[in-house]
Symmetry: C2
DNA sequence: CCGAAACTTTGATCTGCATCAACTCGCGGT
DNA sequence: ACCGCGAGTTGATGCAGATCAAAGTTTCGG
């Protein structure tokens, strides 16, 4: 059914959407061809470089985004500057909080990224008139909820070493399709960001990384590039 | 519009539902009268006493629940026994994970509670044929997601004292409508459960509670009964 | 190619919370 | 009323991870 739908709509698809990575993602995959055309016409692509903010915490934003490329981090900061990353989003995820205008968190590009910017009013209208899209957003919300709760367990009950292993596992799993047993990837986060995700300091992150390296679970090249010879071994560190 | 809908459907409402606390809650408030009748007929009430499990982690469950009375905690446990509470649900919340049969967490009554048990297959069918219900569930899912992320900040970045204050604030806010400035409530959780929610030990929980008591932020009567003379003062402890 | 800034690692020390260990309180049973 | 047990508190000590400090590595502009 989804296949039939997309086949049909491909006829009138906007050029930008035709070859789009997210064409069959959460949002666009749930739209009828006429809606896709309207949305596509009013939704510019934007490239954002690493570190720049997409949505500010506490601000009202008039748009949603869809990640086409790159990684986006969701952060919460306290008045005194303490910071916690509460989610990582990868292409082709949807970013935004339907039904609430003021954002309770900030969204920031962790790597250079490309996003598709949806006008809020337009997409809100489409949500309310498209059950398929609601269902799709419900699906993503429930998956993010599962992920958030899994991370609560990590934050509350795992040791520093387990935390770092959990993060590496999370990224290895979401980044690139792995080949055979050995997995390779570039960390989309700096040590400081990893610390903010795991609720620790950069020093402890660094120490635990070298611990994992010395015990042979991972290899590290140029700080950011990680090689996991055996994913099972990494999973064992997490005692999931 | 919601009002009109409920007026109409009250005519054919099942007896049990007529005076139900959750009649206009997440699930039942989004159903048509014929659906409510069908669901009501097949959904027995059940009383569960404090500590008994409603859904087991890792098990397939053939039902969802709706909390009529009491508090339900959502837990995750690791193979070695470490435990983390990842959510608290109050009446009239919906409990369950649509679209996924095997539960990744357990649900357990924290206090004596009363629930309404929905057959899974029936409710799944209603979800798929009722956009209003999908929308309602999306709303709850997004709210729970906000709450989970707020709690991630608490787990990752707040001190022990701030954590305890955060929990007291959470419960004070969700339990009873407060009178004027001073708020009073019974803790639905034991010290051990509080520890599992905050990622600490019972000893530290206890110490921080007496710290808050000595500093005058709260008063404690019979361990479980808490009096907050000034909610603003409590909020200040959280440095939210 | 050089130099400065930003990021990361490593080492020394400190501390907040965990752990271990009594002890107290409240409650239900006999 | 007394006992016994689970829940909570309080105290002494230990340790994982924070903090403070410094050196090494990478990046990038000139």
């Amino acid at each position: 059914m989804d296949v039939a739908r997309s086949k049909v709509s491909d006829a009138g698809t906007p050029v930008a959407c035709a070859s789009c990575q997210a064409r069959h993602g959460i949002v666009c995959g749930a739209l009828w061809s006429s809606q896709l055309r309207e949305l596509g016409r009013q939704s510019p692509r934007r490239t954002v470089d690493a570190g720049s903010e997409i949505i500010a915490q506490g601000a009202e934003s008039s748009f949603y985004s869809n990640i086409m490329r790159g990684v986006v981090k969701l952060c919460k900061v306290m008045p005194d500057g303490r910071q916690q990353i509460v989610g990582l989003q990868f292409a082709p995820d949807f970013v935004g909080r339907p039904f609430v205008r003021e954002s309770t968190l900030s969204a920031e590009a962790a790597t250079d990224a490309e996003i598709c910017v949806f006008p809020r009013d337009l997409l809100d209208r489409m949500i309310s008139e498209t059950p398929e899209l609601q269902r799709s957003l419900l699906d993503q919300a429930l998956k993010e909820l599962d992920a958030a709760r899994e991370w609560m367990l990590t934050l509350g009950r795992r040791t520093a070493e387990e935390k770092v292993a959990s993060l590496l596992h999370l990224i290895a799993t979401h980044a690139e399709p792995q080949t055979a047993t050995t997995t390779t990837f570039d960390l989309p986060l700096s040590r400081a960001e990893i610390a903010d995700f795991l609720g620790m300091t950069i020093e402890t992150v660094s120490r635990q990384m070298t611990r994992l390296r010395k015990s042979g679970v991972i290899r590290i090249e140029k700080f950011r590039h990680i090689i996991v010879p055996d994913m099972d071994e990494l999973e064992r560190m997490i005692s999931a």
